[in-house]
């Protein structure tokens, strides 16, 4: 497998932390050490090298204060590997007042955002890891407006970042430089729901949790569920092919999305909004948009197959002594719980400790501390039957020694508190300090080996946590340290990617590539495949204005 390393001599360009003082109050942010990064604005600003080897830049940018020195930044912000470097594509135009007037004309003044505070938020990702310097956010209300925006931007060669709930974890939802943000948050209407077939048609800006609440009143559930449900948009979920906690039961969005409507770079509206379960007429283009992270088009409407809400949901929280037991338990669960198994998640002891230390109101459901914890959820239509099945399975596992202890939730409140632990790990990691986050697909037998190997490699430098969707072979590998530092990063990358590649795993199981892993795709895909992806991108977006610098390696688009 070819692994292209991109290294250009002399220039270190990483993501910049512009403001010295963050205007967003972040009570938890301790002054984190930032190996200062400055965006190299070739066309915009001048770069001065200071006598102490740091860089200072003068930029004419409302969001940036002058003299961005390395030592004073309080933003948590850092690049991926030391070798990654991005330059703003000089072919992209810069925003001018005529552009802003045009947008105000087509969208109305209210929905053209130049306000500093709102832009600050829109420019920064959820993890506070990536920050762009866009000067404009547009809030279209319908597909027609999205089409007008893109047609104009394409003609003017203005780069665009499609944005939804901004909960992505790989920097795919925020600008890298000054791309115009197109946020579909106002497009949040539910268009139709068929109570017989369960097909839901809605606009891309609908928040996942709101859709779930709506469906609940009709006796249905969304086929996906994830920790970010309170903020993420269905359009974003589809664009990133989000996985989540229910994939083991309902499959991926490639299966559950029946249709979508998308707008391509030149403003062309592609109506692929079918609501049919079966439709073999031609190439199924919607699959190109599902998971392309906004780089091929902006998804404006989604048609998705929802599932009847089954009344009997049971949740068990199990403790296992070692990873081998977890594996065997998974095999047994698939066999014995079969059709009612709806989630199989795992977390290790370090993850549990982290959650107990950083979140309020959580307690370990199991009385004693153990090495691994498993959450098993069943969903079925017969309460008594399902409960008996689950109990019988768990008691047998207890007897066989696969399980050392466990509890079964007796009501929805207890179940929520179990889920809070698993879903709260991401939040706890944020509170704990710096976090290096990796999302890998690996053969189930190998999943914990990488955690152990990395632990050995990093020693006392950091706390390594492993948790994730064991049922899908998806590990969320997280390294928590007090501060970001390059030495630590150097030990982690490319080690993690190479390890994954060696076992033919995926370097991004569900999070996507975004900007974080745009240059790492070769660890998991062959050069020929990637070359074809680049061709498709060039076909659909010749000027490359949609979400540039992301998903595919920069080298394929260098001018």
């Amino acid at each position: 497998m070819m692994m292209q390393k991109l290294r250009r001599s002399g220039e270190f360009i990483r993501f910049g932390c512009k403001s010295l003082i963050s205007s967003r109050p972040n009570k938890d942010s301790v002054s984190r050490s930032v190996s200062g990064f400055v965006n190299h604005y070739k066309s915009k600003g001048k770069l001065f090298e200071l006598s102490d080897g740091n860089y200072k830049t003068e930029l004419h940018h409302p969001c940036i204060s002058r003299n961005v020195g390395m030592l004073l930044q309080q933003y948590k912000c850092f690049g991926s590997s030391a070798a990654s470097l991005i330059q703003r594509n000089p072919l992209f135009s810069s925003l001018d007042s005529k552009d802003v007037s045009y947008f105000k004309e087509i969208l109305g003044e209210k929905n053209v955002v130049e306000d500093k505070e709102r832009l600050e938020t829109a420019n920064t990702d959820w993890m506070h890891k990536y920050k762009g310097s866009s000067k404009l956010m547009l809030l279209p209300k319908n597909t027609q407006e999205v089409s007008q925006i893109l047609e104009y931007c394409d003609s003017r060669r203005l780069a665009v970042v499609p944005q939804g709930g901004n909960t992505g974890l790989v920097g795919g939802s925020v600008p890298v430089f000054d791309e115009v943000i197109v946020n579909v948050g106002l497009m949040n209407k539910i268009l139709s729901f068929d109570e017989v077939s369960g097909v839901l048609v809605c606009e891309a800006g609908c928040i996942l949790e709101n859709l779930a609440t709506f469906l609940d009143t009709k006796g249905f559930i969304m086929p996906l569920d994830l920790g970010a449900k309170g903020s993420c948009h269905i359009g974003g979920n589809v664009s990133t092919n989000a996985g989540g906690l229910r994939l083991i039961r309902y499959g991926s969005l490639h299966g559950t999305v029946l249709g979508l409507e998308a707008v391509t770079a030149n403003g062309n509206v592609l109506d692929m909004l079918g609501t049919l379960r079966k439709d073999n007429t031609g190439y199924d283009l919607k699959h190109l948009f599902i998971g392309s992270e906004g780089s091929l088009g902006i998804v404006t409407k989604v048609s998705i197959l929802t599932q009847p809400k089954l009344s009997s949901v049971n949740l068990a929280f199990i403790a296992c002594k070692d990873y081998l037991s977890c594996q065997k338990l998974l095999v047994e669960a698939k066999r014995n719980l079969g059709e009612i198994l709806s989630a199989f998640e795992f977390l290790d002891n370090n993850s549990m400790d982290l959650v107990l230390n950083h979140l309020d109101g959580v307690r370990n459901p199991v009385s004693s501390s153990e090495n691994f914890y498993i959450l098993i959820e069943t969903t079925g239509s017969d309460e008594t039957n399902d409960r008996e099945k689950l109990e019988a399975f768990l008691l047998k596992s207890l007897e066989k020694g696969l399980v050392s202890d466990g509890v079964i939730a007796q009501d929805i409140n207890q179940a929520s508190s179990f889920w809070r632990i698993r879903e709260g790990i991401t939040e706890a990691l944020q509170k704990a300090g710096a976090v290096y986050k990796y999302d890998l697909s690996l053969p189930v037998e190998e999943i914990y080996n990488i955690v152990n190997d990395l632990r050995g490699r990093l020693g006392d430098l950091a706390n390594v946590m492993g948790y994730g969707h064991l049922g899908d072979g998806n590990l969320h590998l997280n390294i928590s340290a007090a501060e970001y530092n390059d030495k630590l990063l150097g030990l982690i990358e490319p080690y993690v990617y190479e390890w994954t590649s060696k076992h033919r795993g995926s370097i991004s199981a569900e999070h996507g590539l975004g900007v974080m892993k745009a240059n790492e795709i070769f660890y998991s895909k062959s050069p020929e495949t990637v070359a074809l992806m680049a061709s498709i991108k060039k076909l659909l977006d010749p000027k490359g204005i949609l979400n540039p610098y992301k998903v595919l390696p920069h080298s394929l688009f260098s001018n």
Partner: protein, 251 residues
């Protein structure tokens, strides 16, 4: 001493309830049912008292249809020693339940009867008080702390009242109803679930207990509360004053 704990099977607290189209009650078909949260707290307190050595047996009681056995099994999985299921398909109101519990108390002779302060389906907050009255026992309701003195045969109970906390001493035998802050109920662990399978649940009928179930109350209708009207944007202070005066009649 024995402790009797009454546990009720109700629609799960987290479920969004809907009224049946015929307005006779709340929809319970295909809806998740669980032990009433306050009953869970009551059972937890009873178990802690037993573990502290003040009682030798905790008996869980439930009155209702056959599925109540599930609720009792949860109680046994938490640690109750045995269960009693008084089977009936009728909906009983608090007074009838209280009469049944009195009959059971006459048979079992517990030193304490624990109940949740109210059930989350009817919010009656009556059963505990009625049981105490029927038995002629002292009662301490809305308990947020219970301390037993074995020698003096007295329970010191902190009650949550509107003005704050009230502390009562009640002679045993007594009836205590539990409030939210009393304790955090334990989870049903696998080893306990296993043990629970061999614990007995005795089935009884209302006839066995010779209780008069005739009710003086008849539920006529159950309806949803009126939907909240959406707010109105006013364009000036004058308009606001006009509305406050002439529509809301508060000025």
């Amino acid at each position: 001493m024995k402790i009797l704990v009454a546990v009720k099977r109700v629609v799960d607290y987290a479920v969004k309830i809907r009224v049946k189209p015929d307005k006779t009650g709340v929809e319970t078909q295909n809806v998740k049912m669980s032990m009433n949260p306050f009953c869970e707290i009551a059972l937890e307190e009873a178990l802690r008292i037993k573990e502290a050595g003040f009682a030798k047996e905790v008996i869980a009681v439930s009155i209702g249809p056959s599925q109540c056995v599930d609720t009792l099994r949860t109680g046994l999985a938490m640690g109750a020693d045995r269960g009693i299921h008084v089977e009936t398909n009728s909906i009983f109101l608090p007074l009838t339940i209280a009469k049944i519990l009195k009959s059971l108390a006459d048979v079992e002779n517990p030193g304490l009867i624990f109940l949740g302060k109210q059930a989350i389906d009817d919010d009656c907050n009556q059963t505990g008080q009625m049981v105490a009255a029927l038995l002629g026992w002292p009662q301490a309701t809305f308990a947020s702390k219970v301390v037993l003195d074995k020698d003096k045969n007295v329970a010191t109970v902190d009650r949550e009242v509107d003005g704050g906390l009230e502390t009562l001493n009640v002679d045993l035998p007594a009836v205590i109803t539990t409030d939210l802050r009393l304790n955090q109920p334990r989870y049903a662990s696998l080893p306990n679930i296993m043990k629970a399978k061999s614990k007995p649940i005795k089935k009884m009928t209302v006839q066995d207990l010779k209780v008069d179930i005739k009710s003086d109350i008849e539920i006529l209708e159950v309806t949803e509360p009126p939907k909240r009207k959406s707010g109105v944007m006013v364009s000036s202070v004058d308009e606001l004053i006009d509305k406050l005066k002439n529509e809301a009649h508060v000025v």
